[in-house]
Symmetry: D3
Subunit: 140 residues, 6 copies
Amino acid sequence: MNLERKKVAVFRKEHFNAAHRLHNPNWDDATNTAVFGKCNNPNYHGHNYELIVQVTGYPDPQTGYVMDMKVLSDLIWEHALNLFDHKNLNEDTTAFKHLNPTAENIAVVIYDLLRPQIDAALDLKIRLYETERNFVEYPA
Amino acid sequence: MNLERKKVAVFRKEHFNAAHRLHNPNWDDATNTAVFGKCNNPNYHGHNYELIVQVTGYPDPQTGYVMDMKVLSDLIWEHALNLFDHKNLNEDTTAFKHLNPTAENIAVVIYDLLRPQIDAALDLKIRLYETERNFVEYPA
Amino acid sequence: MNLERKKVAVFRKEHFNAAHRLHNPNWDDATNTAVFGKCNNPNYHGHNYELIVQVTGYPDPQTGYVMDMKVLSDLIWEHALNLFDHKNLNEDTTAFKHLNPTAENIAVVIYDLLRPQIDAALDLKIRLYETERNFVEYPA
Amino acid sequence: MNLERKKVAVFRKEHFNAAHRLHNPNWDDATNTAVFGKCNNPNYHGHNYELIVQVTGYPDPQTGYVMDMKVLSDLIWEHALNLFDHKNLNEDTTAFKHLNPTAENIAVVIYDLLRPQIDAALDLKIRLYETERNFVEYPA
Amino acid sequence: MNLERKKVAVFRKEHFNAAHRLHNPNWDDATNTAVFGKCNNPNYHGHNYELIVQVTGYPDPQTGYVMDMKVLSDLIWEHALNLFDHKNLNEDTTAFKHLNPTAENIAVVIYDLLRPQIDAALDLKIRLYETERNFVEYPA
Amino acid sequence: MNLERKKVAVFRKEHFNAAHRLHNPNWDDATNTAVFGKCNNPNYHGHNYELIVQVTGYPDPQTGYVMDMKVLSDLIWEHALNLFDHKNLNEDTTAFKHLNPTAENIAVVIYDLLRPQIDAALDLKIRLYETERNFVEYPA
């Protein structure tokens, strides 16, 4: 089988927990409450985030792997999730010091952290579940 | 971060229950039974449908949202699911009076109901689970 | 290992779909609507029911089985689910001709159908999911 | 069918999000870190909690319900989850002002909030998922 | 509704169990262990594989089906899963006699087995879960 | 709150993969095939096992924990799952050298391995999923 011409996507799912608050510092409190509702609570709330990292390319004919899932998992933790797990995204991270930690923005930030760590010949996509009912994908 | 150039998909999952029957009125009973089997039961059967609505676009730099999930959820119920939830799709709805309520057709109908309610700059996609093992996506 | 003195519960999960309507024929329409709400829809609605049958006893030392799961699955279908799958519980079944098909009552009916089919030395329990968020167990 | 002699358990699942921090104020920082690890982060982290409330009793022969799930859901929110959803358990609640918000303690607190709201003839049990892999049940 | 111009994807999920071992016969044992770790165990390990087969095309206006899910399920078993279910992929199958049974390769093999069985006008895609946390998709 | 009188169960979920074969060496091949069917395949098949360990007792008033879930997870791996994960249960383990590796027997074996490692004042129960549809619990 000539795997070099068969493009496959591989997916690795990871889990992390964090506190956050949605807030735009350029707005007054009434506007923040009107737009973000309960998610604007000044003392924060939190989530169990489920992250799925998708890497797409041609399987290596020697291994049959697009990428070793153990290596991918380690990269995800070393370069992204160790910064966020059991943290307050607004208070404890540089990424969200001046960026609203919506699911959309967290997905983009994780993409930007992982992109330099993954072989440039491989495509990268991030899916992030904030809850079972609300999730995002980047790039779309 | 220049979010205006980062296209993100956001997904909202909703749940509804309905009765339905698969049936082609142009066919005789034997053909309907041969094609639709148990799903042709004249007294109907039913499902817990899981609906995932995907909206794709550029996050608003003020909110970090492609679209407010609460607004999206309200639109889904107001313009689509209130018509179908705890209903008999064949008997209680205009959409399926003359259209077979297969998962494929339900997904297309929901798309057509929601498309005018969502900003034209945003892409829309519907995923509908009829059971955990049978589901559809439109547009493909 | 003396398995004869080690009591183990085994569980088998099955899936069926049905239409139903909650209704008390001794009440007027206003009372039925007040009590059962959308579930009283005269044209029915429906569900994907998940059934978990629990059988408890001592593993057979020759097989290591409390009960063969294939045999249990066949009994569940032959004596219970074939009566209900892709049916209208109110219209197509004798069990619910004069019994309101609430999840509680469906669980009791399934128990009563299966109890004579299972060795009397084994305990039997039924768990029934009407939706992911509403489920029942009998006997409690 | 004489339902009055058939005891059934009914279960309702609800979801809430909260921030929290595990901390014993009687201990120094080193002890808190040694015991609670990442969960002691002073700026909090958070979870999507899944709550399952179990109520056990005899179905009402008029309704076939042990308890109306809509009524149960409303009680859960009015008397418990509205206090915790999108909140910081340590900072925003009286229940955890002086009580460590472990899953065990949250389950006991929710039980104590709901017990007076449920008919004394019915048994009550709480299952709380802090993550998919860590959960608790009370009373055991 | 002109369904002939509405392209829909339909998905069918199936389950199978198998033993396997990851191994490159061109490498020595040390290299195999270094690359494949626990997955190189000479006596095999195993998985519950979840397979999702996606078929994309235009619904038939007579049925409202892109493809009958019962027909698709039967094709999946007849032409692919009967070869692998409750088997040792390395020992009991011709497909993996000389091909490493990584999730990537299993997905490609299943695609190649099913492609000739599905109408050429329909697109085909395979998603395969080796575990809940590791899965692949082909073609990507 | 007097937690010392409030008994709580805590649950920890872990995952492992293994190959196995159901076989009774005292029977001839025809009997083994008749009883165990595809599960008797001489070259083995395999599963993703999900293990839930339940520990019941009184929360420690200093921590609010019945037991530290990290400690419990480490005990589960050190004393049980490291013996079985990515192994052939029949060939690679002493526990199943002469014991048929049914789900019932695996649950009893894991109980017996963990029981001496858990404080005798705490109750222990094992739930083991062989597949999503077949699972067991011990002691029942």
